[in-house]
């Protein structure tokens, strides 16, 4: 029980980073698989709606390991979310809390703010931006970039690939713009 209590605390960044980094050799040793998650979205398209588009005409079944991997991520999320939490509020930097208060975000009991990420927001501007718009940008952008945080920032950088460094710097630039300029303006315009 001591061990369970220990695991239920939020993990230090060094432990977290080490375990995320070890996923790279884990997948290679299990079957020479390159760590990368956004490809799963392409395989889902190829499997469900190929629509005669050449980008989706390939043998996705050969890549089905990736779909098992993401199904595992969802299951792992369920296990950690239901059995490995200590019930404490998430500790967020005071400066960020102050800025989020202007967005109407005050609830720190979960990993995401329920003021935004709730079904009741689906048909409001928040749903349109945070679920539909944001999701679309993630899917379109990662495929255009040929990878996401896992494929480029972790796998690509681990293999010292300079295109992955370019991609990572662009991910960060887009994120800085979005979090500091775009999102504050959206709340100003719509709230």
């Amino acid at each position: 029980m001591q061990l369970l209590k220990f695991i239920q605390q939020p993990w230090h960044w060094s432990v977290s980073g080490l375990l995320i980094g070890l996923t790279v050799p884990l997948l290679l040793i299990l079957g020479n698989k390159a760590f990368g998650i956004s490809s799963s979205l392409r395989h889902i398209c190829a499997a469900c709606f190929p629509a005669d588009i050449s980008f989706f005409k390939y043998d996705w079944k050969k890549e089905s390991w990736n779909l098992f991997f993401v199904a595992g991520i969802a299951l792992g999320g369920f296990l950690a979310g239901h059995y490995l939490q200590d019930g404490q509020d998430i500790q967020v930097a005071a400066a960020t809390q102050q800025r989020l208060a202007a967005y109407g975000v005050h609830d720190y009991s979960a990993l995401l703010p329920p003021e935004i990420f709730s079904w009741s927001n689906l048909f409001t501007w928040k749903g349109l931006i945070f679920f539909i718009g944001g999701g679309f940008l993630v899917g379109f952008g990662t495929r255009y970039a040929g990878g996401c945080t896992s494929g480029h920032s972790i796998m690509g950088l681990s293999n010292l690939q300079w295109p992955s460094l370019v991609a990572t710097m662009c991910f960060m630039a887009g994120g800085f713009f979005s979090a500091n300029i775009l999102i504050p303006h959206l709340f100003k315009w719509f709230e």
């Binding site: 993990w11 960044w13 060094s14 977290s16 980073g17 375990l19 995320i20 790279v24 050799p25 040793i29 079957g31 020479n32 998650i37 956004s38 979205l41 629509a51 980008f55 989706f56 991997f69 993401v70 595992g72 299951l75 792992g76 999320g77 950690a80 998430i90 967020v92 960020t96 800025r99 990993l111 995401l112 990420f117 079904w119 927001n121 749903g127 539909i132 718009g133 944001g134 999701g135 899917g139 952008g141 990662t142 495929r143 990878g147 996401c148 480029h152 950088l157 681990s158 293999n159 991609a167 662009c170 991910f171 960060m172 630039a173 887009g174 994120g175 800085f176 979005s178 979090a179 999102i183």
Partner: protein
């Protein structure tokens, strides 16, 4: 059945994502508002671990559990890494998630993120449809 090991690896990785809090929208806002070191520490440590692991695999010619050689395909540069990278970055800060965390967020009980995931699949599909006409 040979894919079950990847499901187990995914479970491990999903648990790590949640406990590292990297699937938290709050942590992503902190990262891009430069108010916390947490995300930089996690990603930095992961990259260093990955670099060392790959060097060891190459140096000692480590094989897969089936005895096959391990080879990593190099990345080739194209403009998509810049344009697509910027687009994904914007979406990352909005959703608080890259593709992996989307699956983990749904697992933790934020079921509405399934809409985000469907939209991400739609985004991937639209990219595939437009690919030949994009720079």
């Amino acid at each position: 059945m040979k894919n079950i090991k990847y499901l187990v690896a995914g479970v491990f990785f999903g648990i790590v994502l949640v406990k590292a809090q990297v699937i938290s929208w709050f942590r992503i806002q902190e990262m891009f508002q430069l108010t916390s070191f947490h995300m930089y520490g996690v990603i930095g440590t992961a990259v260093v671990t990955g670099i060392i692991s790959l060097q060891l695999i190459k140096r000692f010619n480590i094989k897969t559990i089936a005895g096959d050689p391990i080879a990593v395909v190099p990345k080739t540069f194209n403009k998509g890494q810049i344009i697509g990278g910027l687009i994904f970055g914007i979406g990352w800060a909005i959703t608080g998630a890259c593709p992996g965390p989307l699956f983990a967020q749904i697992g933790t009980g934020f079921t509405v993120v399934a809409i985000t995931l469907l939209s991400a699949i739609a985004g991937t599909w639209v990219f595939g449809a437009l690919k030949s006409r994009l720079p």
